[in-house]
């Protein structure tokens, strides 16, 4: 099989109940689907949670993923996004000796800022498209980041 594998973002609305997350992840592992990232949070003022799953696969695989997800009893809706706004977040820890003003300027170009300054380190935060987050992380290498934490994606249909 030489079907093209594509990156896709799938949103799943599920009932907030025990073990619902493992039902989703077990489905992926049991059927050999790939999870690039997974973000979960309750939907405000409801009994539902929203999962944003970044995955990859051929058209046939993605179709199976959405159909199999929908078969799970606690799943209300499954969206396979075509046109969407997608954001990821990153937190980066720098030594205090690096140039705060340079990094602040960079962060602002990527929807971010300095969020914490301590005695020995300061922490920057950005939130942007996954590809732009990649770029930013490449760019800040020269400022000797000590630690980088990156979130999964969240997405909304336009």
């Amino acid at each position: 099989m030489t079907e093209n594998s594509e990156r896709r973002v799938v949103s799943v609305i599920v009932v907030n109940e025990a073990s619902v997350l493992s039902r989703i992840t077990d489905l992926f592992s049991g059927r050999g689907y790939n999870i690039t990232s997974l973000t979960v949070a309750p939907i405000p003022e409801s009994k539902y949670s929203r999962l944003t799953i970044v995955t990859s696969g051929s058209v046939r695989v993605i179709e199976q993923i959405t159909k199999q997800l929908h078969k799970l009893v606690p799943v209300l809706k499954v969206y396979e996004h075509a046109d969407l706004v997608e954001k990821e977040m990153a937190l980066i820890k720098f030594p205090i000796t690096e140039s705060i003003s340079d990094i602040t300027a960079l962060c602002q170009a990527y929807n971010g800022n300095i969020v914490n300054v301590g005695e020995n380190i300061f922490i920057a935060m950005i939130a942007d498209d996954p590809k732009r987050v990649d770029n930013f992380l490449k760019m800040i290498k020269r400022y000797n980041p000590k630690e980088i934490v990156r979130s999964g994606a969240v997405a909304l249909e336009r």
Binding site: A18, S19, D26, R60, K67, Q68, H70, K71, V73, P74
Partner: protein, 564 residues
Amino acid sequence: MQISGAQMVIEALIAEGVDTVFGYPGGAIMNVYDEIYKQDNFKHILTRHEQAAVHAAEGYSKASGKVGVAMITSGPGFTNAVTGLADAYMDSIPLVVISGQVPMSLIGTDAFQEIDAVGISRSCTKHNYLVTNASDLPRVLKEAFHIAASGRPGPVHVDIPKDVTAEIAEFDYSIELGLETYKPNVKGNPRQIKKAIAAIAKAKRPLFYIGGGVINANAGYEVRELIKKTGIPAVETFMARGVLSHDDKLLVGMLGMHGSYASNMAMSETDLVIGLGARFDDRVTGKLSEFAKNASVIHVDIDPASISKLVNADYPIVGDVKNVVKEMLELSTSINSNKYEPWRETVANFAELHPLVYHEDTDRIKPQWVVERVGELLGDDANISTDVGQHQMWTAQFYPFSRPRQFISSGGLGTMGFGFPAAMGVKAASPDKISINFTGDGSILMNCQELMTAVEQKLPVINIILNNNYLGMVRQWQTLFYDKRHSETDLSVQPDFVLLAEAFGGVGYRVTTKEEFDAALKDAIEKNIVAFIDVVVERLENVMPMVPSGGSLFNMMLLERKEK
């Protein structure tokens, strides 16, 4: 009313109309068993192994069309039952399996007989629950029965900690189902159905491809009607044996790995596959890229995930087969059955060219003969179960099935040891029919402890062991594809099956001639007690025809012609 969790389980089973429960008690489920002791609304059948309890519930469900119920304890009780859950999941059998769990306070402490049961069953059940409050039990049990039986049926597992079965709470089973996220589509899109009918009317060589979903949906008689009205030939999957009667002129036969030449050729030559409740299993399609290569595909299935999973459907119809076929019947007046006469002739020629046969032997009994003979003697009077292996395929090929739910076997999972306990469940559901289990000398040992259950509960299953002293199907593959290296498949050292049956209080026969076979079967039926009929058959017989795994349906290995 305020009752204990254990009492709630009993009340729910009664409210669901359950008349038979299969199970095995243990520490964590004792409160529920104490309530079983106090009631006489349903019968409890004590199997001698939890795996058998679930298989028996499967057999009961397959024969009756009702939800099968099994009850087991925590830890090893539960893990023993997992094979049954997986089997039911693969074959879409509606079950509710209730297990005991260690008390809430001990969960997660590696307590005695503790296992993460819902974690294990998640991948082999349609849905599962760990009940943490007795007040949740009425809702959970009601949902469990609903989910098991609706949509694409399947097993539902309910795990109940011991303290929850002791907890007192309000029980009201008249509550509404609150399953807002679970709404199977049963109707079938009318526009798609119209399009499908138009495609059938246009096709030159259409072919019905009947799957086990037709039996699950109780749509057998509607499907018979549709096939009769349209005059279109039909092939059955292994799971669908009996949907059409063996003497139906439009039944081409079983297709797939051990399907008939005519069925597999018809599938290769058709220009329109009409798939009803079939899931294009790899044992059916062979090499996917060569499967029904020149055909468009109509696919009717209750499970949207089954449609276009392996073979692209040009006319996908999500819905209950019974509803969809009823609608098709109404629209079928636009189909002219005379038009398919040349196609019917082509199919008939395929059947004549290579009929489903075996070579008779004067010295030894051929296993196929045994199946045919039981068919001649009992026909519709028997329900037929099987274990897994060569005997299973010979049964599917050679038994003259005449109705849905007559044939009960483990399809998707291929579970050795399924047959005997399933046949007990079949007998419990359908006591008026003779319950026959075709098995092999390999399979029968996997659940032979159920002799005790069958004796105690007076479930006179007749186990016909097609004994070739081999793990036959694996031996066949070794012969054909591993240069006859029969690695660990020689079962020459076997117990005396006659003595084994008798040790448990059943009856046993050793059969080496055809006359002895007839006499043994007759005697077993008359004695009306669990029986082993150990039939010594030709050792090296192969199941033919055969499509080698991953091969194309039209490239079958056929029976070699006998030299004169």
